[in-house]
């Protein structure tokens, strides 16, 4: 491959068709309650880590949903696993397991 001194910029829009959602399906298998989220934001509002940083667990799992693993980066490491999010979730999503599972799946990258 030749080097031109620049590369093709990646689009900022979500290009879903080209993405493999295999990792999402595996997450849904690991923690089925994930599918129930209706994005009320209760988790982010109560999040212990979110009181100190811009960590937004709802955003994190939406990024994961669309396979934006790069943008997720090290975000999940900010989580303290205290479980408040799980406790407030009106849809009964098991967020703690979701976070650990996401970290495991992302670790494979």
């Amino acid at each position: 491959m030749k080097s031109f001194g620049f590369s093709i910029a990646k689009p900022r829009s979500l290009e879903i068709d080209g993405e493999s959602l295999e990792r999402l399906h595996r997450l849904e298998e690991k923690e089925p309650s994930f599918k129930r989220c209706f994005n009320c934001g209760g988790c982010t509002a109560t999040c212990s880590a979110g009181q100190f940083t811009d960590f937004n667990i709802r955003r994190v799992h939406n990024l994961y949903r669309w396979g934006r693993y790069q943008e997720l980066g090290e975000e999940l490491r900010k989580c303290m696993l205290c479980g408040k999010c799980t406790l407030v979730c009106p849809r009964g999503v098991n967020l703690r397991h979701l976070i650990v599972s996401m970290r495991e799946l992302l670790n494979e990258l």
Binding site: M1, K2, F4, S7, I8
Partner: protein
């Protein structure tokens, strides 16, 4: 009814007596195109078109790259108009879509702000001692070819039909953004239904492909490609278009803008070398033609005189499909009759 609505999307295109202004970059990248245009107008259609020896840039690239201020651009453009006035013409025909955009923009500005017109007249007078009239009609050469597309069709030797299958060729048409996106009413079909190239393709037997990113910019974008670090954005736009048109398997791309022809052609090489990806089935890339080259080809002009060999993606396979004969040995014969050295072959893109 529909015809009446369609009339609202037409523009006025002068019949004859054109003042031609050449493009800065086309002369180096597609040197045969402008010559072919003049030939078609003079020999096939018998029109009066003036090609002035004193013409110069319109500053379009500098203007859109924020290098040249608007006042300067207006004065430079005024000098071009004064050349036209001096030569006794009223219909201005800029070869370049960027120039076309700049002229329409300036003329519209003068209409809204007469003070600027006066200032420009003053500046031109002070600097060069020249005076000018505003052109009656500014049209792009593609408008003229569009206007006379049926006349040309009758003189053409070939049609846009695949001679092996008998089906119309599938053509992607791409219109320069500055043709109809800045002042929609100055384009055929406005910005909503740009028809200038599609009209030619349909008239000459081809089939226009309507693909999702049809109206997307080619990626030229002035500031994007001028700075090396930004070229990735330019390239990404072009790639987006290619990704979108690829499933339709187009036979070639037809453009009316120098930037678009250049970038859609050359970026195919860059993408191939970067990612080993081409957008036709066989790895040769999709040929990109200007409307003059296409008209010339169909009228039976020599492809090497039209300058097709200077494109990145080569057109032999397309000519084979249409049935246009060409001499392989004369591909790189110079004007002097001597063979020029062959260009270096790309690693991934086949030629």
């Amino acid at each position: 009814m529909s015809k009446r609505y369609w009339n609202q999307y037409q523009k006025e295109i002068a019949d004859d007596r054109y003042f031609y202004e050449r493009s800065c970059i086309r002369q180096s990248f597609f040197p045969g195109s402008e010559a072919a245009f003049l030939k078609i107008l003079r020999e096939e259609l018998g029109k009066d078109i003036h090609d002035d020896v004193n013409q110069h840039t319109c500053t379009g690239i500098g203007y859109h790259s924020d290098v040249v201020p608007f006042e300067t651009t207006m004065t430079v453009v005024a000098r071009l108009f004064s050349l036209m006035t001096q030569a006794g013409y009223e219909n201005y025909v800029p070869s370049c879509v960027t120039s076309f955009g700049v002229f329409t923009e300036i003329v519209e500005t003068w209409k809204e702000q007469p003070a600027l017109l006066e200032k420009t007249r003053k500046l031109l007078k002070e600097t060069t001692g020249r005076e000018f009239n505003i052109p009656k009609n500014i049209v792009h050469p593609s408008d003229i070819i569009y206007k006379f597309r049926f006349e040309l069709r009758d003189r053409m030797k070939y049609r846009l039909v695949n001679r092996y299958t008998g089906k119309p060729l599938k053509v992607v048409e791409h219109i320069g953004c500055h043709y109809a996106k800045i002042f929609p009413k100055h384009g055929v079909g406005n910005a909503e239904f740009p028809y200038v190239l599609a009209g030619m393709i349909e008239a000459w037997g081809g089939e226009v492909i309507d693909y999702p990113e049809r109206r997307h910019c080619c990626g030229f974008g002035f500031r994007q490609y001028l700075v090396q670090q930004n070229r990735g954005y330019s390239l990404a736009n072009t790639q987006k278009k290619f990704e979108s048109m690829q499933p339709y398997e187009p036979d070639f791309i037809l453009t009316n803008c120098p930037g678009c022809s250049m970038f859609m052609d050359k970026w195919q090489y860059v993408i191939a070398e970067m990612e080993n990806k081409t957008y036709d089935k066989d790895g040769y890339g999709i040929p990109v033609l200007t409307y003059e080259e296409l008209a010339g080809l169909l009228l039976g002009y020599d492809p090497w005189t039209l300058g097709l060999q200077l494109h990145q993606v080569q057109s032999e396979r397309l000519m084979d499909k249409i049935g246009i004969p060409y001499n392989k040995n004369e591909k790189f014969k110079g004007v002097s009759g001597k063979l020029l050295p062959y260009p270096e072959k790309p690693e991934h893109l086949k030629v």
